[in-house]
């Protein structure tokens, strides 16, 4: 069986692993690294539950082979924040009831992070557009949008506090 060594920085930690070329990035994260916060929803690149950040940009980890991230950096929900120190996006989802079953949430939050990294002060429409590749079946999105706007405000005020 063909295997290939990949070196990848996952949530800031260097990983060096031999993988079969056909192994999907989502399965690499979940099964090989045990990072089960990345969920697999559909199989056809539609639901966004498996969204992670690749070099800071949102990608669907079910639509990449693990071998393709050799030499790159991946962030999963486990790298976003810790229980003791939540990222403002995680706090926002909790504060605004932006999740119910929680299955789409990791992907949704990482798509939100990419959005806020690029556009720290988005409108409601910006948020809805930025999350248009992530499906949620529970919430109806309204609270997800609120959660992201909550996080934007918090991040802005934190940035303001630092710059002052």
């Amino acid at each position: 069986m063909e295997e290939r060594r990949i070196n990848v920085l996952v949530n800031g930690e260097p990983k060096s692993v031999d993988v079969e070329p056909r192994l999907l990035l989502a399965h690499f994260l979940r099964e090989v690294l045990g990072l089960t916060g990345t969920h697999i929803g559909c199989d056809t690149t539609n639901c966004g539950a498996c969204t992670v950040l690749l070099d800071g940009l949102p990608v669907k980890s079910c639509t990449m082979f693990a071998v393709m991230v050799d030499g790159h950096e991946v962030m999963t929900v486990e790298g976003l924040g810790m229980p003791s120190e939540l990222h403002p996006i995680q706090e926002g989802f909790r504060e605004e009831h932006g999740l119910q079953c929680g299955f789409c949430t990791p992907g949704m939050m990482l798509a939100a992070k990419a959005l806020l990294d690029e556009n720290p002060n988005p409108t409601e429409e910006d948020v809805r557009w930025g999350l248009s590749g992530n499906l949620c079946r529970c919430t109806g999105y309204q609270n997800i949008v609120k959660a992201v706007l909550w996080a934007a405000e918090k991040l802005q005020s934190e940035a303001g506090a630092i710059s002052r």
Partner: protein
Amino acid sequence: MYPSRFHYEAPRSLAEAFSVLQAYGDEAKVLAGGQSLIPLIKLRFSAPAVIVDINNIPGLDYHEEDSDGSLNIGALCRHRTLERSPLLRSRYPTMAACAPLISDPMVRTRGTLVGSLCHADPQGDWASVMLALGGDIIAQSAKGERAIPASQFVVGPFQNALEPNEIAVRARVPASKGTRSGTYLKLERRVGDFATVGVAVALEASGSTINRAGIALTGVGPSNIQCTEAEQALAGKTLNASTVEQAARLAAQAAQPKTDVRGSAEYKRHIVHTFVMRALSNQQQARAA
């Protein structure tokens, strides 16, 4: 969904890629963004024996104008880049309108314009834009380059004109014959959906006279359709109620829609007419203003 086994090659240069392709012939499949190919492999609709991942080849992620005024889009230029491109926004309105309508934000991070053209999905949006702009695709092999006009690049549903030893290294939009205007209108059942109907309109004009008109359709035929007669009806003319209506009628006639879950053939033809009318009327109004 779990892909079949394949052999993986990740060349670091075009030269290396060509020798890999030479070795494996038509068993090999080139992987760029992978946003169409990987789902097909996962569904096991496609099971290439060899994957040649070109993402590690430097110098293919660009879009820039040449000294002759033509626009070149490299094989690794992502939809995301095009969506955010100030160059497209200021000088290539049809492309700028199309880029955000490709699938969804994550797919746009990875997917590429050139890859989309190579995939030759009849519902692909970029192929219509390239037809409307009169673009071509530059295929390169160990032996050199050749330019394949967009109108000859797609030879059937999911089939392109590349030889097994060639890689589509860039797409090219020729220099404009005047000021560009145009748009891409897409009827989709939901954001990110494939087009029920897509209409690309690209005009190049001097004052109110149209020097060149490009009109092409998505989703209404076995591949994207260039509306040659509609284009000719506008060339050398100005936009007015009668030329707009004539172009819309000819475009609707050029469509070859099929009745399916997205709607009846009649409906799709009607949408082509409506969208060509809207696209041209908007240009007409913009010009008047």
